[in-house]
């Protein structure tokens, strides 16, 4: 069970893409050479230099337009299928730290990208075409270990992203769910029992540009290994991250 979780309140996201930039800044990822192909969305997809990407989708429905934004990234599954798949081939290629961050190591170069992508219910892992190393969002494991909230959450101006202890985030997510349902009755929390990054979706999944594979493609749960969490390994002061923190409310950091 991950110690921490994040809530992505999609109903509050304005697609300012501050998260996308903050991620590149903290992780020192280069800007990609892009062209405009007729959409705001750029880069076109996740890559080893783009760990988080705001995806745009326009919906035309009975003369009304909707424009839905979706911050795509690794959900940091509590029992990550990518790790399970990796473990069968190269042990230690994909790891999970005590905070719940699922991390790709250099050993991922020994894995088959197709298999790892297919193992991921959200189609997140990407591979460097040259080094063959795979990469993705780290949940800012280094920041969390140093008592800082993830860079994307820190920068979010609208209150769409919140970080905190898992039980507190779940509590908040359930409360928000009830509130948002009043305006958007179909609102739901996506896979909240299975992931650390819990998405509150106020519209049906089909209205977002996102990948959610049918559950049947996921490895059978009983086959998963269980993990013993090492205790007492957290750095001093980590408890400060205990409260729920949004980026635009950085006072608590």
């Amino acid at each position: 069970m991950g110690k921490y979780a994040a809530l992505v309140d999609v109903s509050k996201c304005t697609a300012c893409r501050g998260c996308q930039i903050a991620c590149k800044q903290w992780n020192e990822l280069p800007g990609e050479k892009t062209v405009n192909v007729g959409t705001y969305q750029n880069p076109p997809d996740l890559s080893v230099t783009t760990f988080t990407l705001v995806r745009f989708k326009e919906i035309s429905d009975k003369g009304e337009v909707r424009w839905n934004f979706f911050k795509d990234q690794c959900r940091h599954c509590l029992e990550p299928p990518c790790k399970e798949a990796a473990d069968t081939a190269v042990k230690g290629a994909i790891t999970q730290d005590e905070n719940g961050c699922v991390l790709f190591t250099e050993k991922t170069r020994l894995l088959n990208i197709k298999e790892i992508r297919e193992a991921c219910p959200y189609d997140i892992p990407r591979q460097d075409p040259n080094t063959k190393i795979m990469d993705k969002c780290t949940f800012c494991a280094d920041r969390i270990a140093n008592n800082m909230i993830p860079a994307c959450i820190k920068t979010c101006p609208t209150g769409a992203l919140t970080f905190g202890l898992r039980d507190k985030i779940l509590e908040m997510a359930n409360k928000r769910l009830a509130e948002v349902k009043e305006r958007f009755p179909l609102t739901r929390l996506v896979d909240k029992e299975e992931v650390s990054w819990i998405y509150l979706l106020h519209r049906p999944e089909a209205e977002f540009q996102m990948t959610v594979r049918a559950k049947t493609t996921r490895p059978v749960t009983v086959a998963r290994r269980t993990f013993l969490k090492p205790l007492g390994t957290l750095v001093a002061g980590t408890a400060l991250l205990g409260s729920v923190t949004s980026g635009s409310d950085s006072s608590r950091e």
Partner: protein
């Protein structure tokens, strides 16, 4: 903003119109979202469906340039359905004032108000006046029934703005109009508030000022001025544009909105008399009656000991405008184009991309002898001489690029949209030879002064008598570095001699506690009266960082400092009834404490008791000589009530509202007298599509600061043009294809973004297409990014401010390679 950013959370209804806050003021959505969490309704009115519209409860499309028709229809709806807050309107606005019986309106004069002089395109405003009684007081009808009272005139004027006519002008479907009117006007009662978030989508029109006036009228009718969650809120386009305006960025004002003197006002007395309003009403505070205290204190800050009573405090040394001279942006570049300037400082700006009709600007720069560009990155202005279409060998202009420090490399203050002056600290040293602006200005000052001393020249005293006391002086009387705290203190102002005021002695050299202490006898200085109290003997008020909020409505009175006198919501005396009890009990801005006989809450607009105290009290709108807010506004160039006129370059033959096609008082730049680039083509089959320009969240202004940033360029690498599927199909354009957008003045290449977020408009039975494109790109970088959309925009400005009409003009779109 009359209110401030945090206050948006207190609104019951938020209208975003003439702005795109989610994209261009992203942090504002923290407060918009909080308001929505509390049950507020978000309305978005925009020609295209934006990232703001994506979050709105209701979206309504509108053809660019028809906001007065849209809002005029709302005024009619409010009056017809009695949605106005009658007690508020009666107490605080000029609705009951009787207007001169000779005053005539567009309904009677085919779109004109009385007094029009067609030859000079100007109004004689003598009939736009109030009726006075024998004691010199304005005649009123508190029942609002007199046919000459403002309320009845307003009703008559907007009776023409029927839903059918408004819909046919704006292209907004009638059901959407109805929905917006209904939701917005639901706040016309005590305890409810609606706010308006607007920006350049309202100002950059030939009727820009009147767009905002129309909204101000609505806010007054609904009782939304002065209250929490209300106000008329301009979202400023740069972090310190409010501060730069306060400190007289524009030609017509001196610091603190004092007026630039004109040549015929030859003495200080004449100047002060002209701009000091008078009233005979004992209940009117008439705050501008203090004008001479502020003007004399300003002169003392400019000229120090050189300014004496005997020499009119140096008034003669102030530069003057010729009478009637217009020195606004468009006129400056017109004169530059005609070769009437030898030099130009483009300081922290990039006019070759930001200026309307940018080709004219670019050609104008080529007529200069020298150009100094102070900036942080290479840009299209400093590089203009080898830009598209330029022949460097034929350009005589010598260009200097002075590298400047960025905001994080210097200490100082920023004033945000909510009028908060916030102190900012230095994060690091500027690289290489980059200097803070104040150091560049100081060096310039000393060099210019030395030249004047050596060679003389025109008006030497203006320079030679100016003080420059911003730090310890070395040999030769020159300061080594600017101490920015000394600048801030000069802006606040000092006592220049020992002075006893209301029984308290203020020592010579001490800082003035607030503008209420400024004097007109030369005993005080203040570089900007509005900022007097920002830096006092108690310290630098702008550096305060207390998070205490006893108000409960997010005033945070000890966080930084707001002008005037730390008031967070201006006109707040209108947030209470005549006994001083807040209209909104849940969000009280101020309230009268009967026990202490004092106001609690925000800093009130003056400490006088509430209106029920009779002559002890003062009216709420203290900056107006009559003390009442202007529903009837006789001061503007184009009329006391806003009237719909078409944009100067527009798609229809005839204004459907009246016989005047466009604003009758705008200044026309005729191609016959200046340049073919000033041409406009209305209703021309070659340019049949309405266009507008805008900003985006990923780039900043012209992009000088962001187009060198790979992470931002990655998200928005190239100029695009948004268009409807219907228009794209008509022109055979597919999404993602390269197209040319062409106007009478220029063309740009852009990527077509074909979208359902733009829809064709039905205007009087005719299909009118509209497109939109951002103006943040430029040819210098990125190399395949495209150029500025301002190559398309016209040289025409608002009748009052001359801000260019960049938000409504005509273009054509064609596929590249056809």
């Amino acid at each position: 903003m009359t209110n401030h950013w945090i206050d948006i959370r207190n609104a019951d209804v938020i209208l975003v119109m003439g702005s795109n806050a989610a994209e261009n003021h992203p942090i504002s959505f923290k407060w918009v979202n909080k308001a929505i969490d509390g049950g507020a309704t978000l309305l978005s009115v925009d020609p295209r469906f934006t990232r703001t519209s994506a979050k709105a409860h209701v979206y309504a499309p509108i053809r660019s340039g028809t906001d007065i028709a849209f809002l005029g229809g709302m005024i009619k709806y409010i009056i017809d359905n009695k949605r106005y807050f009658e007690e508020y309107v009666r107490l605080y606005t000029n609705a009951s004032f009787l207007v001169n019986q000779k005053f005539k309106m567009p309904v009677e004069l085919d779109g004109l108000f009385s007094g029009y002089d067609a030859k000079n395109r100007k109004y004689d405003k003598s009939t736009w006046a109030f009726q006075m009684d024998g004691n010199g007081l304005i005649k009123k009808d508190p029942t609002l029934q007199d046919p000459n009272c403002v309320f009845q005139l307003l009703k008559k004027h907007y009776s023409r703005y029927t839903p059918d006519l408004v819909s046919t002008i704006t292209g907004t479907p009638k059901d959407k109009l109805q929905k917006i009117y209904e939701v917005y006007s639901s706040t016309g009662k005590p305890g409810k508030a609606a706010t308006i978030m607007y920006a350049m989508g309202w100002t950059q029109h030939t009727v820009g000022t009147q767009n905002i006036r129309t909204m101000a009228i609505i806010q007054l009718l609904l009782g939304n001025m002065g209250v929490a969650g209300g106000g008329v809120n301009a979202l400023r386009g740069e972090s310190n544009v409010q501060g730069s305006t306060d400190h007289c960025l524009l030609f017509h004002i001196l610091p603190g909105y004092l007026r630039t003197p004109s040549a015929s006002l030859s003495t200080l007395k004449e100047y002060n008399d002209k701009f000091t309003p008078k009233t005979k009403d004992p209940m009117s505070a008439n705050w501008w009656g203090n004008y001479p205290k502020y003007s004399v204190s300003l002169l003392k800050s400019f000229f120090g000991e050189n300014a004496t009573k005997a020499n009119d405090f140096g008034y003669a040394w102030l530069p003057k405008l010729d009478d009637g001279q217009n020195a606004s942006w468009l006129v400056l570049f017109d004169e530059m184009y005609k070769g009437n300037f030898s030099g130009f400082f483009a300081w922290g700006q990039n006019p070759t991309c930001s200026g309307a009709n940018a080709n004219k600007v670019r050609l104008g720069l080529a007529k200069l002898d020298w150009l100094v560009n102070v900036n942080i990155f290479p840009n299209e202005t400093a590089e203009f001489w080898h830009g598209p279409g330029m022949k460097p060998q034929n350009i005589k202009t010598e260009v200097f690029l002075l590298p400047a420090a960025v905001s994080f490399e210097k200490e100082g203050s920023l004033t945000n949209s909510g009028r908060w002056a916030q102190w900012r600290y230095k994060g690091g040293n500027p690289p290489g030879e980059a200097w803070p602006d104040a150091e560049i200005m100081t060096e310039l000052y000393y060099r210019v002064k030395a030249l004047y001393k050596k060679e003389g020249g025109a008006y030497p005293d203006t320079v030679l008598k100016t003080t420059w006391d911003y730090g310890p002086k070395g040999p030769g009387g020159k300061i080594k570095h600017v101490d920015i705290h000394m600048v801030a203190k000069e802006i606040n102002g000092y006592f220049l001699e020992d002075k006893t005021i209301r029984g308290t002695l203020y020592k010579k050299g001490s800082l003035v506690p607030s503008f209420a202490f400024l004097q007109d006898d030369g005993s005080t200085s203040s570089g900007n009266w509005l900022y007097c109290q920002s830096y006092t003997e108690k310290g630098n008020m702008m550096a305060r960082r207390s998070r205490k909020d006893e108000s409960g409505i997010g005033l945070y009175l000890e966080w930084a400092w707001a002008w005037p006198v730390n008031r967070r919501i201006i006109y707040n005396r209108a947030s209470v009834d005549k006994n001083g009890n807040p209209w909104d009990k849940e969000h009280p801005v101020i309230q009268w404490d009967q026990g202490t006989k004092k106001w609690k809450g925000d800093v009130p607009d003056g400490g006088w008791p509430p209106l029920s105290a009779g002559e002890q009290s003062r009216y709420a709108f203290i900056m107006k000589p009559e003390g009442h807010a202007h529903i009837f506004g006789p001061g503007l160039a184009d009329g006391p009530f806003p009237e719909h006129y078409e944009p100067y370059e527009c798609p229809i033959e005839k204004n459907l509202m009246n016989a005047q096609k466009f604003n009758p008082t705008i200044k026309i730049f005729s191609p016959e007298t200046t340049t073919p680039l000033d041409v406009v083509f209305s209703c021309d089959p070659r340019f049949p599509i309405v266009a507008t320009t805008y900003r985006m969240v990923e780039h900043w202004q012209t992009g000088v600061m962001t187009r060198w940033q790979p992470w931002l360029v990655e998200t928005q690498p190239q100029l695009w043009v948004e268009m409807s599927k219907e228009l794209a199909s008509l022109r055979g354009i597919k999404n993602g294809e390269k197209v040319f957008v062409q106007s009478a003045r220029g063309q740009v290449e852009a990527v077509a973004m074909v979208t359902d977020r733009f829809k064709p408009f039905n205007i009087a039975g005719q299909t009118i297409h509209q497109i939109g494109l951002p103006w943040c790109f430029g040819w210098v970088t990125p190399s395949d990014g495209g150029d500025s959309a301002n190559l398309l925009t016209p040289s025409i400005g608002d009748a009052n401010t001359m801000i260019p009409e960049s938000k409504a003009f005509m273009v054509n779109v064609v596929r590249k390679g056809v």
